[in-house]
Amino acid sequence: MAQALLEALNLQVHYGGIAAVKGISFAVEQGEMVCLIGANGAGKTSTLKALARMIPSRGEIHYGNRRIETLPSHELIGKGLALVPEGRGVFARLTVAENLLMGAYHRNDANGIAVDLARIYDLLPRLKERSSQVAGTLSGGEQQMLAIGRALMGRPKLLLLDEPSMGLAPLMVQKVFEVVQKIAAEGVTILLVEQNARLALEVCSRGYVMESGLITLADSSVALLADSRVRTAYLGE
Protein backbone atom coordinates (compact mmCIF):
# COMPACT_ATOMS: atom_id res chain seq x y z
CA MET A 1 0.00 0.00 0.00
CA ALA A 2 1.30 3.42 -0.91
CA GLN A 3 1.80 6.17 1.66
CA ALA A 4 -1.63 7.41 2.80
CA LEU A 5 -2.15 11.17 2.45
CA LEU A 6 -4.95 11.11 4.99
CA GLU A 7 -5.59 8.52 7.62
CA ALA A 8 -8.15 8.49 10.42
CA LEU A 9 -7.77 6.07 13.31
CA ASN A 10 -10.66 5.39 15.66
CA LEU A 11 -12.24 8.76 14.86
CA GLN A 12 -15.18 9.65 17.13
CA VAL A 13 -17.52 12.64 17.15
CA HIS A 14 -19.96 13.38 19.95
CA TYR A 15 -22.66 16.01 20.12
CA GLY A 16 -23.42 16.32 23.81
CA GLY A 17 -24.06 12.75 24.85
CA ILE A 18 -24.94 11.54 21.39
CA ALA A 19 -22.30 9.75 19.36
CA ALA A 20 -22.49 10.68 15.69
CA VAL A 21 -19.28 8.92 14.67
CA LYS A 22 -18.43 5.92 16.81
CA GLY A 23 -14.81 5.19 16.08
CA ILE A 24 -14.00 4.76 12.41
CA SER A 25 -10.70 4.19 10.67
CA PHE A 26 -10.00 4.79 7.01
CA ALA A 27 -7.32 6.07 4.69
CA VAL A 28 -7.04 8.04 1.46
CA GLU A 29 -3.94 7.63 -0.62
CA GLN A 30 -2.14 10.29 -2.59
CA GLY A 31 -3.91 10.94 -5.91
CA GLU A 32 -6.91 8.80 -5.05
CA MET A 33 -10.57 9.72 -5.28
CA VAL A 34 -12.47 8.03 -2.50
CA CYS A 35 -16.07 8.37 -1.40
CA LEU A 36 -17.89 8.04 1.87
CA ILE A 37 -21.48 7.07 1.22
CA GLY A 38 -24.42 6.39 3.46
CA ALA A 39 -27.89 7.51 4.43
CA ASN A 40 -28.92 10.73 6.14
CA GLY A 41 -27.56 10.91 9.67
CA ALA A 42 -24.98 8.19 9.15
CA GLY A 43 -22.23 10.55 10.32
CA LYS A 44 -20.65 11.38 6.97
CA THR A 45 -20.72 15.16 7.33
CA SER A 46 -19.58 14.94 10.97
CA THR A 47 -16.62 12.88 9.81
CA LEU A 48 -15.68 15.44 7.19
CA LYS A 49 -16.10 18.36 9.60
CA ALA A 50 -13.92 16.59 12.13
CA LEU A 51 -11.23 16.02 9.49
CA ALA A 52 -11.34 19.75 8.67
CA ARG A 53 -11.20 20.50 12.44
CA MET A 54 -14.51 22.39 12.34
CA ILE A 55 -15.82 20.30 15.24
CA PRO A 56 -14.00 18.57 18.09
CA SER A 57 -13.37 14.85 17.83
CA ARG A 58 -11.45 12.00 19.43
CA GLY A 59 -9.01 9.67 17.74
CA GLU A 60 -6.06 10.28 15.47
CA ILE A 61 -6.00 12.11 12.15
CA HIS A 62 -2.82 11.77 10.13
CA TYR A 63 -2.28 14.08 7.18
CA GLY A 64 0.93 13.81 5.18
CA ASN A 65 3.39 12.84 7.85
CA ARG A 66 1.89 14.72 10.78
CA ARG A 67 -1.03 14.60 13.16
CA ILE A 68 -3.57 17.36 12.58
CA GLU A 69 -6.18 16.74 15.27
CA THR A 70 -4.71 19.50 17.44
CA LEU A 71 -4.45 22.09 14.67
CA PRO A 72 -7.04 24.88 14.36
CA SER A 73 -9.18 24.69 11.24
CA HIS A 74 -7.86 27.89 9.65
CA GLU A 75 -4.32 26.51 9.44
CA LEU A 76 -5.30 23.53 7.31
CA ILE A 77 -5.79 25.36 4.02
CA GLY A 78 -2.19 26.54 4.19
CA LYS A 79 -1.14 22.91 4.49
CA GLY A 80 -3.12 21.93 1.40
CA LEU A 81 -6.24 20.55 3.03
CA ALA A 82 -9.39 22.28 1.78
CA LEU A 83 -13.02 21.75 2.76
CA VAL A 84 -15.97 22.56 0.50
CA PRO A 85 -18.70 22.83 3.12
CA GLU A 86 -22.11 21.26 2.85
CA GLY A 87 -24.86 23.56 1.62
CA ARG A 88 -22.38 25.41 -0.57
CA GLY A 89 -21.36 28.07 2.04
CA VAL A 90 -20.52 30.92 -0.32
CA PHE A 91 -20.13 34.51 0.87
CA ALA A 92 -23.52 35.62 -0.40
CA ARG A 93 -22.94 39.37 -0.47
CA LEU A 94 -19.51 39.23 -2.05
CA THR A 95 -19.09 38.99 -5.81
CA VAL A 96 -17.93 35.80 -7.48
CA ALA A 97 -14.43 37.24 -7.93
CA GLU A 98 -14.27 38.38 -4.29
CA ASN A 99 -15.37 34.92 -3.17
CA LEU A 100 -12.61 33.30 -5.17
CA LEU A 101 -10.04 35.72 -3.79
CA MET A 102 -11.16 34.91 -0.23
CA GLY A 103 -10.06 31.35 -0.99
CA ALA A 104 -6.53 32.70 -1.36
CA TYR A 105 -6.75 34.68 1.89
CA HIS A 106 -3.82 32.89 3.49
CA ARG A 107 -1.56 33.41 0.47
CA ASN A 108 0.43 36.50 -0.34
CA ASP A 109 1.90 35.65 -3.73
CA ALA A 110 -0.09 38.07 -5.90
CA ASN A 111 1.23 36.57 -9.13
CA GLY A 112 0.42 33.02 -8.15
CA ILE A 113 -3.06 34.09 -7.10
CA ALA A 114 -3.66 35.75 -10.48
CA VAL A 115 -2.49 32.60 -12.28
CA ASP A 116 -4.77 30.40 -10.20
CA LEU A 117 -7.72 32.74 -10.71
CA ALA A 118 -7.26 32.50 -14.48
CA ARG A 119 -6.93 28.71 -14.22
CA ILE A 120 -10.19 28.46 -12.25
CA TYR A 121 -12.00 30.69 -14.73
CA ASP A 122 -10.77 28.28 -17.44
CA LEU A 123 -12.05 25.30 -15.51
CA LEU A 124 -15.35 27.00 -14.61
CA PRO A 125 -16.12 29.43 -17.44
CA ARG A 126 -19.55 30.15 -15.97
CA LEU A 127 -17.87 31.84 -13.02
CA LYS A 128 -15.90 34.08 -15.35
CA GLU A 129 -19.09 35.29 -17.02
CA ARG A 130 -20.50 36.09 -13.59
CA SER A 131 -17.34 37.31 -11.92
CA SER A 132 -18.82 40.66 -10.87
CA GLN A 133 -22.17 39.25 -9.81
CA VAL A 134 -23.06 38.84 -6.15
CA ALA A 135 -22.72 35.18 -5.15
CA GLY A 136 -26.09 35.07 -3.38
CA THR A 137 -27.84 35.57 -6.72
CA LEU A 138 -26.20 32.60 -8.46
CA SER A 139 -28.12 29.38 -9.06
CA GLY A 140 -27.52 26.48 -6.69
CA GLY A 141 -25.24 24.72 -9.15
CA GLU A 142 -23.22 27.85 -9.81
CA GLN A 143 -22.84 28.38 -6.07
CA GLN A 144 -21.53 24.85 -5.71
CA MET A 145 -19.04 25.49 -8.52
CA LEU A 146 -18.02 28.70 -6.78
CA ALA A 147 -17.47 26.92 -3.47
CA ILE A 148 -15.28 24.38 -5.24
CA GLY A 149 -13.44 27.11 -7.13
CA ARG A 150 -12.82 29.00 -3.89
CA ALA A 151 -11.34 25.89 -2.29
CA LEU A 152 -9.07 25.42 -5.33
CA MET A 153 -7.71 28.95 -4.87
CA GLY A 154 -5.88 27.57 -1.84
CA ARG A 155 -4.01 25.11 -4.13
CA PRO A 156 -5.14 22.09 -2.13
CA LYS A 157 -3.48 18.68 -2.18
CA LEU A 158 -6.55 17.16 -0.59
CA LEU A 159 -10.09 18.33 -1.25
CA LEU A 160 -12.86 17.36 1.17
CA LEU A 161 -16.16 17.65 -0.71
CA ASP A 162 -19.34 17.59 1.34
CA GLU A 163 -22.47 16.57 -0.60
CA PRO A 164 -21.81 18.53 -3.79
CA SER A 165 -24.99 17.16 -5.37
CA MET A 166 -27.28 18.31 -2.57
CA GLY A 167 -30.35 20.15 -3.82
CA LEU A 168 -29.18 20.38 -7.41
CA ALA A 169 -31.05 19.52 -10.59
CA PRO A 170 -29.82 16.26 -12.21
CA LEU A 171 -28.23 18.06 -15.14
CA MET A 172 -26.34 20.35 -12.75
CA VAL A 173 -25.23 17.37 -10.67
CA GLN A 174 -23.67 15.88 -13.82
CA LYS A 175 -21.81 19.12 -14.50
CA VAL A 176 -20.52 19.39 -10.94
CA PHE A 177 -19.25 15.82 -11.07
CA GLU A 178 -17.52 16.44 -14.40
CA VAL A 179 -15.67 19.32 -12.78
CA VAL A 180 -14.75 17.18 -9.76
CA GLN A 181 -13.33 14.53 -12.10
CA LYS A 182 -11.28 17.14 -13.94
CA ILE A 183 -9.85 18.33 -10.64
CA ALA A 184 -8.97 14.77 -9.69
CA ALA A 185 -7.33 14.27 -13.09
CA GLU A 186 -5.05 17.22 -12.29
CA GLY A 187 -3.70 15.27 -9.35
CA VAL A 188 -5.75 16.58 -6.44
CA THR A 189 -6.66 13.88 -3.94
CA ILE A 190 -10.38 13.90 -3.20
CA LEU A 191 -12.49 12.60 -0.35
CA LEU A 192 -16.12 12.85 -1.40
CA VAL A 193 -19.10 12.57 0.91
CA GLU A 194 -22.27 11.78 -0.99
CA GLN A 195 -25.81 10.56 -0.48
CA ASN A 196 -26.06 9.85 -4.18
CA ALA A 197 -24.22 6.53 -3.87
CA ARG A 198 -24.39 5.44 -7.50
CA LEU A 199 -22.94 8.66 -8.80
CA ALA A 200 -20.22 8.72 -6.16
CA LEU A 201 -19.17 5.13 -6.81
CA GLU A 202 -19.12 5.73 -10.55
CA VAL A 203 -16.52 8.49 -10.27
CA CYS A 204 -14.47 7.16 -7.32
CA SER A 205 -12.09 4.23 -7.31
CA ARG A 206 -12.93 3.13 -3.77
CA GLY A 207 -15.69 3.71 -1.29
CA TYR A 208 -16.59 3.41 2.37
CA VAL A 209 -20.16 2.81 3.45
CA MET A 210 -21.23 4.44 6.71
CA GLU A 211 -24.18 3.36 8.79
CA SER A 212 -25.15 4.99 12.11
CA GLY A 213 -21.67 6.21 12.90
CA LEU A 214 -19.69 3.17 11.79
CA ILE A 215 -18.04 2.05 8.56
CA THR A 216 -19.81 -1.16 7.62
CA LEU A 217 -18.28 -1.81 4.20
CA ALA A 218 -15.05 -0.83 2.51
CA ASP A 219 -14.17 -1.94 -0.97
CA SER A 220 -13.44 -0.91 -4.54
CA SER A 221 -16.25 0.92 -6.29
CA VAL A 222 -16.75 -1.95 -8.71
CA ALA A 223 -17.20 -4.39 -5.85
CA LEU A 224 -19.51 -2.07 -3.93
CA LEU A 225 -21.67 -1.45 -7.01
CA ALA A 226 -22.02 -5.22 -7.33
CA ASP A 227 -22.63 -5.84 -3.62
CA SER A 228 -26.20 -6.94 -2.97
CA ARG A 229 -26.41 -5.05 0.38
CA VAL A 230 -25.33 -1.82 -1.27
CA ARG A 231 -27.66 -2.39 -4.19
CA THR A 232 -30.72 -2.81 -1.98
CA ALA A 233 -29.90 -0.16 0.61
CA TYR A 234 -28.39 2.64 -1.49
CA LEU A 235 -28.97 2.02 -5.16
CA GLY A 236 -32.70 1.39 -4.91
CA GLU A 237 -32.72 -2.03 -6.49
Binding site: M54, S73, H74, P85, G89, A92, L94, Y105, V134
Partner: protein, 350 residues
Protein backbone atom coordinates in the same frame (compact mmCIF):
# COMPACT_ATOMS: atom_id res chain seq x y z
CA UNK B 1 -7.71 60.32 -8.03
CA UNK B 2 -10.26 62.83 -6.89
CA UNK B 3 -11.71 65.21 -9.45
CA UNK B 4 -11.65 68.97 -8.95
CA UNK B 5 -15.35 68.93 -8.34
CA UNK B 6 -14.96 66.44 -5.50
CA UNK B 7 -12.14 68.52 -4.02
CA UNK B 8 -14.31 71.60 -4.19
CA UNK B 9 -17.15 69.75 -2.47
CA UNK B 10 -14.88 68.51 0.30
CA UNK B 11 -13.50 72.01 0.83
CA UNK B 12 -17.05 73.36 1.12
CA UNK B 13 -17.96 70.72 3.69
CA UNK B 14 -14.80 71.46 5.66
CA UNK B 15 -15.53 75.20 5.71
CA UNK B 16 -19.13 74.54 6.75
CA UNK B 17 -18.02 72.26 9.59
CA UNK B 18 -15.48 74.82 10.80
CA UNK B 19 -17.98 77.69 10.70
CA UNK B 20 -20.84 75.63 12.14
CA UNK B 21 -20.32 76.24 15.90
CA UNK B 22 -20.28 80.01 15.48
CA UNK B 23 -23.49 79.93 13.50
CA UNK B 24 -25.04 77.67 16.12
CA UNK B 25 -23.70 79.78 18.99
CA UNK B 26 -25.55 82.77 17.57
CA UNK B 27 -28.79 80.77 17.90
CA UNK B 28 -27.92 79.47 21.35
CA UNK B 29 -25.04 77.70 23.07
CA UNK B 30 -27.39 74.79 23.73
CA UNK B 31 -27.16 73.94 20.03
CA UNK B 32 -23.39 73.70 20.18
CA UNK B 33 -23.77 71.24 23.05
CA UNK B 34 -26.36 69.27 21.08
CA UNK B 35 -23.97 69.16 18.14
CA UNK B 36 -21.19 67.91 20.41
CA UNK B 37 -23.40 65.09 21.59
CA UNK B 38 -24.29 64.32 17.98
CA UNK B 39 -20.57 63.97 17.18
CA UNK B 40 -20.07 61.85 20.30
CA UNK B 41 -22.85 59.53 19.23
CA UNK B 42 -21.43 59.42 15.71
CA UNK B 43 -18.18 58.18 17.24
CA UNK B 44 -20.07 55.54 19.20
CA UNK B 45 -22.01 54.47 16.11
CA UNK B 46 -18.81 54.11 14.12
CA UNK B 47 -17.38 51.96 16.89
CA UNK B 48 -20.47 49.77 17.04
CA UNK B 49 -20.50 49.59 13.25
CA UNK B 50 -17.22 47.66 13.37
CA UNK B 51 -18.86 44.99 15.50
CA UNK B 52 -22.34 44.93 13.99
CA UNK B 53 -21.83 46.29 10.48
CA UNK B 54 -18.45 44.87 9.50
CA UNK B 55 -18.27 41.64 11.48
CA UNK B 56 -22.03 40.99 11.76
CA UNK B 57 -21.99 40.40 15.52
CA UNK B 58 -25.15 41.78 17.11
CA UNK B 59 -24.11 43.69 20.23
CA UNK B 60 -26.86 45.07 22.49
CA UNK B 61 -24.57 46.10 25.32
CA UNK B 62 -22.26 48.48 23.52
CA UNK B 63 -22.93 51.34 25.94
CA UNK B 64 -20.91 49.36 28.52
CA UNK B 65 -17.67 50.36 26.77
CA UNK B 66 -18.81 53.97 26.69
CA UNK B 67 -19.41 53.65 30.45
CA UNK B 68 -15.98 52.11 31.05
CA UNK B 69 -14.29 54.97 29.17
CA UNK B 70 -16.33 57.56 31.03
CA UNK B 71 -15.61 56.09 34.48
CA UNK B 72 -11.90 55.69 33.75
CA UNK B 73 -11.78 59.39 32.93
CA UNK B 74 -13.91 60.32 35.92
CA UNK B 75 -11.76 58.34 38.38
CA UNK B 76 -8.46 59.64 37.04
CA UNK B 77 -9.44 63.30 36.73
CA UNK B 78 -11.68 64.32 39.61
CA UNK B 79 -11.54 65.01 43.36
CA UNK B 80 -13.02 61.52 43.94
CA UNK B 81 -9.56 59.97 44.29
CA UNK B 82 -7.78 63.30 44.14
CA UNK B 83 -6.20 62.31 40.83
CA UNK B 84 -5.92 64.91 38.10
CA UNK B 85 -4.13 63.32 35.16
CA UNK B 86 -4.14 65.20 31.84
CA UNK B 87 -6.66 64.03 29.24
CA UNK B 88 -4.07 62.85 26.72
CA UNK B 89 -2.91 60.34 29.29
CA UNK B 90 -6.39 59.25 30.34
CA UNK B 91 -8.00 58.82 26.91
CA UNK B 92 -5.52 56.09 25.83
CA UNK B 93 -5.92 54.42 29.24
CA UNK B 94 -9.71 54.52 28.83
CA UNK B 95 -9.42 53.06 25.33
CA UNK B 96 -7.18 50.28 26.62
CA UNK B 97 -9.43 49.39 29.55
CA UNK B 98 -12.48 49.40 27.25
CA UNK B 99 -10.54 47.26 24.77
CA UNK B 100 -9.85 44.71 27.52
CA UNK B 101 -13.53 44.82 28.47
CA UNK B 102 -14.32 44.14 24.79
CA UNK B 103 -12.13 41.04 24.80
CA UNK B 104 -13.65 39.92 28.11
CA UNK B 105 -17.09 40.14 26.49
CA UNK B 106 -15.91 38.67 23.21
CA UNK B 107 -14.00 35.63 24.46
CA UNK B 108 -16.90 33.72 26.05
CA UNK B 109 -19.30 34.60 23.22
CA UNK B 110 -17.18 33.42 20.30
CA UNK B 111 -19.45 30.50 19.53
CA UNK B 112 -22.64 32.53 19.76
CA UNK B 113 -24.41 34.27 16.92
CA UNK B 114 -27.51 36.32 16.27
CA UNK B 115 -30.12 36.32 19.02
CA UNK B 116 -28.00 34.36 21.48
CA UNK B 117 -25.13 36.77 21.17
CA UNK B 118 -27.56 39.68 21.49
CA UNK B 119 -28.87 38.33 24.81
CA UNK B 120 -25.39 37.81 26.28
CA UNK B 121 -24.19 41.25 25.20
CA UNK B 122 -27.36 42.80 26.60
CA UNK B 123 -26.62 41.10 29.92
CA UNK B 124 -23.02 42.33 29.80
CA UNK B 125 -24.18 45.91 29.34
CA UNK B 126 -26.48 45.63 32.33
CA UNK B 127 -23.79 43.98 34.48
CA UNK B 128 -21.41 46.87 33.84
CA UNK B 129 -24.08 49.40 34.73
CA UNK B 130 -25.06 47.54 37.90
CA UNK B 131 -21.41 47.31 38.91
CA UNK B 132 -21.05 51.08 38.56
CA UNK B 133 -24.19 51.44 40.63
CA UNK B 134 -22.99 49.22 43.46
CA UNK B 135 -19.22 49.59 43.65
CA UNK B 136 -19.54 52.22 46.39
CA UNK B 137 -18.89 49.80 49.25
CA UNK B 138 -16.88 48.34 50.91
CA UNK B 139 -14.39 50.42 48.93
CA UNK B 140 -15.94 53.47 47.36
CA UNK B 141 -14.79 53.02 43.79
CA UNK B 142 -17.60 54.51 41.70
CA UNK B 143 -19.59 56.48 44.28
CA UNK B 144 -22.66 54.40 43.37
CA UNK B 145 -25.84 55.94 41.98
CA UNK B 146 -24.75 59.43 43.07
CA UNK B 147 -22.12 59.33 40.37
CA UNK B 148 -18.85 61.25 40.21
CA UNK B 149 -18.86 65.02 40.23
CA UNK B 150 -16.53 67.86 39.34
CA UNK B 151 -14.63 65.99 36.64
CA UNK B 152 -11.75 67.97 35.14
CA UNK B 153 -12.32 69.49 31.73
CA UNK B 154 -9.68 69.14 29.02
CA UNK B 155 -6.71 71.38 29.46
CA UNK B 156 -4.07 72.03 26.79
CA UNK B 157 -1.40 74.34 28.22
CA UNK B 158 -3.20 77.54 29.18
CA UNK B 159 -6.28 76.52 27.16
CA UNK B 160 -9.03 75.42 29.51
CA UNK B 161 -11.96 73.73 27.79
CA UNK B 162 -14.47 74.89 30.39
CA UNK B 163 -13.71 78.58 30.02
CA UNK B 164 -14.12 81.03 27.16
CA UNK B 165 -11.24 82.52 25.26
CA UNK B 166 -11.29 85.04 22.50
CA UNK B 167 -8.99 85.18 19.53
CA UNK B 168 -9.21 87.92 16.96
CA UNK B 169 -12.70 88.99 17.97
CA UNK B 170 -14.13 85.43 17.93
CA UNK B 171 -15.31 84.01 21.23
CA UNK B 172 -14.33 80.39 21.71
CA UNK B 173 -16.62 79.08 24.41
CA UNK B 174 -15.97 75.74 26.12
CA UNK B 175 -18.43 73.78 23.95
CA UNK B 176 -16.90 75.25 20.79
CA UNK B 177 -13.43 74.07 21.82
CA UNK B 178 -14.80 70.61 22.53
CA UNK B 179 -16.52 70.71 19.14
CA UNK B 180 -13.23 71.16 17.30
CA UNK B 181 -11.56 68.48 19.37
CA UNK B 182 -14.44 66.06 18.72
CA UNK B 183 -14.31 66.87 15.02
CA UNK B 184 -10.62 65.97 14.89
CA UNK B 185 -11.23 62.70 16.70
CA UNK B 186 -14.16 61.96 14.39
CA UNK B 187 -11.97 62.57 11.35
CA UNK B 188 -9.33 60.20 12.71
CA UNK B 189 -11.92 57.54 13.50
CA UNK B 190 -13.45 57.80 10.02
CA UNK B 191 -10.02 57.43 8.40
CA UNK B 192 -9.20 54.42 10.60
CA UNK B 193 -12.57 52.86 9.78
CA UNK B 194 -12.08 53.30 6.04
CA UNK B 195 -8.61 51.80 6.20
CA UNK B 196 -9.93 48.87 8.19
CA UNK B 197 -12.77 48.26 5.78
CA UNK B 198 -10.44 47.96 2.79
CA UNK B 199 -7.86 45.88 4.61
CA UNK B 200 -7.32 42.14 4.96
CA UNK B 201 -8.98 42.40 8.36
CA UNK B 202 -11.99 44.13 6.83
CA UNK B 203 -12.37 41.36 4.25
CA UNK B 204 -12.08 38.74 6.97
CA UNK B 205 -14.85 40.48 8.94
CA UNK B 206 -17.12 40.41 5.92
CA UNK B 207 -16.36 36.73 5.36
CA UNK B 208 -17.21 35.87 8.98
CA UNK B 209 -20.42 37.87 8.70
CA UNK B 210 -21.42 35.92 5.59
CA UNK B 211 -20.44 32.34 6.51
CA UNK B 212 -18.27 31.39 9.42
CA UNK B 213 -17.45 27.82 8.38
CA UNK B 214 -16.49 28.93 4.88
CA UNK B 215 -14.39 31.69 6.44
CA UNK B 216 -12.49 29.17 8.55
CA UNK B 217 -12.10 26.87 5.56
CA UNK B 218 -10.57 29.84 3.70
CA UNK B 219 -7.90 30.14 6.34
CA UNK B 220 -9.34 32.93 8.48
CA UNK B 221 -8.61 32.71 12.19
CA UNK B 222 -12.21 33.48 13.11
CA UNK B 223 -11.52 33.60 16.85
CA UNK B 224 -8.86 36.31 16.64
CA UNK B 225 -10.66 38.27 13.95
CA UNK B 226 -13.88 38.35 15.99
CA UNK B 227 -12.05 39.35 19.15
CA UNK B 228 -10.36 42.09 17.16
CA UNK B 229 -13.78 43.43 16.10
CA UNK B 230 -14.95 43.49 19.73
CA UNK B 231 -11.70 45.06 20.90
CA UNK B 232 -11.61 47.78 18.22
CA UNK B 233 -15.28 48.65 18.64
CA UNK B 234 -14.85 48.79 22.40
CA UNK B 235 -11.78 51.06 22.18
CA UNK B 236 -13.70 53.63 20.16
CA UNK B 237 -16.48 53.43 22.74
CA UNK B 238 -13.93 53.99 25.50
CA UNK B 239 -12.50 57.09 23.86
CA UNK B 240 -15.99 58.51 23.33
CA UNK B 241 -16.76 57.77 26.98
CA UNK B 242 -13.74 59.70 28.20
CA UNK B 243 -14.73 62.75 26.17
CA UNK B 244 -18.29 62.42 27.41
CA UNK B 245 -17.12 62.52 31.04
CA UNK B 246 -15.00 65.62 30.40
CA UNK B 247 -17.74 67.46 28.52
CA UNK B 248 -20.41 66.66 31.10
CA UNK B 249 -18.19 67.11 34.14
CA UNK B 250 -20.33 64.44 35.77
CA UNK B 251 -20.98 60.75 35.27
CA UNK B 252 -23.50 58.42 36.86
CA UNK B 253 -24.77 54.94 36.00
CA UNK B 254 -27.99 56.49 34.71
CA UNK B 255 -26.26 57.65 31.53
CA UNK B 256 -25.46 54.09 30.51
CA UNK B 257 -28.81 52.34 30.42
CA UNK B 258 -29.94 49.79 27.85
CA UNK B 259 -31.84 52.52 25.99
CA UNK B 260 -28.54 54.10 25.01
CA UNK B 261 -27.26 50.84 23.52
CA UNK B 262 -30.45 50.51 21.53
CA UNK B 263 -30.23 54.13 20.38
CA UNK B 264 -26.70 53.61 19.08
CA UNK B 265 -27.74 50.41 17.34
CA UNK B 266 -30.70 52.25 15.78
CA UNK B 267 -28.28 54.86 14.42
CA UNK B 268 -26.17 52.15 12.80
CA UNK B 269 -29.13 50.27 11.33
CA UNK B 270 -31.09 53.33 10.21
CA UNK B 271 -28.08 54.89 8.54
CA UNK B 272 -26.99 51.74 6.76
CA UNK B 273 -25.07 48.98 8.48
CA UNK B 274 -21.53 48.59 7.25
CA UNK B 275 -21.37 51.87 5.36
CA UNK B 276 -19.34 54.50 7.20
CA UNK B 277 -21.11 57.50 5.67
CA UNK B 278 -24.49 55.89 6.23
CA UNK B 279 -23.70 55.36 9.88
CA UNK B 280 -22.54 58.98 10.21
CA UNK B 281 -25.80 60.15 8.60
CA UNK B 282 -27.87 57.90 10.85
CA UNK B 283 -26.14 59.13 13.99
CA UNK B 284 -26.42 62.80 13.06
CA UNK B 285 -30.08 62.41 12.11
CA UNK B 286 -31.12 60.50 15.21
CA UNK B 287 -29.21 62.92 17.42
CA UNK B 288 -30.73 66.05 15.98
CA UNK B 289 -34.30 65.07 15.12
CA UNK B 290 -35.37 64.43 18.73
CA UNK B 291 -33.80 67.72 19.78
CA UNK B 292 -35.47 69.60 16.95
CA UNK B 293 -38.78 68.05 17.96
CA UNK B 294 -38.17 69.05 21.56
CA UNK B 295 -37.82 72.67 20.49
CA UNK B 296 -40.65 72.71 17.94
CA UNK B 297 -43.39 70.46 19.28
CA UNK B 298 -44.35 72.70 22.19
CA UNK B 299 -44.39 76.07 20.39
CA UNK B 300 -46.15 74.48 17.40
CA UNK B 301 -48.95 73.15 19.59
CA UNK B 302 -49.30 76.47 21.43
CA UNK B 303 -49.51 78.31 18.12
CA UNK B 304 -52.03 75.89 16.61
CA UNK B 305 -54.30 75.11 19.54
CA UNK B 306 -53.41 77.81 22.01
CA UNK B 307 -52.47 75.21 24.62
CA UNK B 308 -50.34 72.12 25.12
CA UNK B 309 -52.34 69.02 24.10
CA UNK B 310 -49.68 66.32 24.03
CA UNK B 311 -46.62 66.23 26.20
CA UNK B 312 -43.61 66.96 23.96
CA UNK B 313 -41.66 64.02 25.36
CA UNK B 314 -44.45 61.59 24.38
CA UNK B 315 -44.84 63.02 20.91
CA UNK B 316 -41.10 63.03 20.42
CA UNK B 317 -40.80 59.29 20.95
CA UNK B 318 -43.90 58.71 18.82
CA UNK B 319 -42.50 60.61 15.85
CA UNK B 320 -39.12 59.05 16.41
CA UNK B 321 -40.60 55.54 16.35
CA UNK B 322 -42.64 56.35 13.27
CA UNK B 323 -39.51 57.56 11.47
CA UNK B 324 -37.77 54.27 12.27
CA UNK B 325 -40.72 52.19 11.09
CA UNK B 326 -41.00 54.14 7.83
CA UNK B 327 -37.30 53.84 7.15
CA UNK B 328 -37.37 50.10 7.62
CA UNK B 329 -40.45 49.86 5.40
CA UNK B 330 -39.14 51.90 2.50
CA UNK B 331 -35.38 51.59 2.87
CA UNK B 332 -34.81 48.24 4.57
CA UNK B 333 -31.05 48.38 4.16
CA UNK B 334 -30.88 51.81 5.82
CA UNK B 335 -30.86 55.33 4.44
CA UNK B 336 -27.44 54.96 2.89
CA UNK B 337 -26.61 51.29 2.74
CA UNK B 338 -23.35 49.53 2.15
CA UNK B 339 -22.70 48.81 -1.53
CA UNK B 340 -22.82 45.03 -1.11
CA UNK B 341 -26.08 45.11 0.76
CA UNK B 342 -27.69 47.34 -1.83
CA UNK B 343 -26.36 45.22 -4.66
CA UNK B 344 -27.98 42.16 -3.21
CA UNK B 345 -31.34 43.83 -2.57
CA UNK B 346 -31.39 45.29 -6.09
CA UNK B 347 -30.64 41.96 -7.67
CA UNK B 348 -33.29 40.25 -5.58
CA UNK B 349 -35.82 42.68 -6.93
CA UNK B 350 -34.67 42.29 -10.54
Amino acid sequence: MKTNRERFGLALIAIALIALPFVLASVGTAWVRITNFAVLFTLLSLGLNIVVGFAGLLDLGYVAFFAVGAYVYALLASPHFGLHLPFWVILPIGATVACIAGVVLGAPTLRLRGDYLAIVTLGFGEIVRIFMNNLSSPVNLTNGPKGINRIDPFQIGPLNFSASDSFGGLVFSGPIKYYYFLLLVLLAVIIINRRLQDSRIGRAWVAIREDEIAARASGINTRNIKLLAFAMGASFGGIAGGMFAAIQGFVSPESFILNESIMILAMVVLGGMGNIWGVVAGAVLLSFVPELLRYTVEPAQKALFGKLLVDPEVLRMLIFGLALVLTMRFRPAGLWPEMRHRRELDQDRA
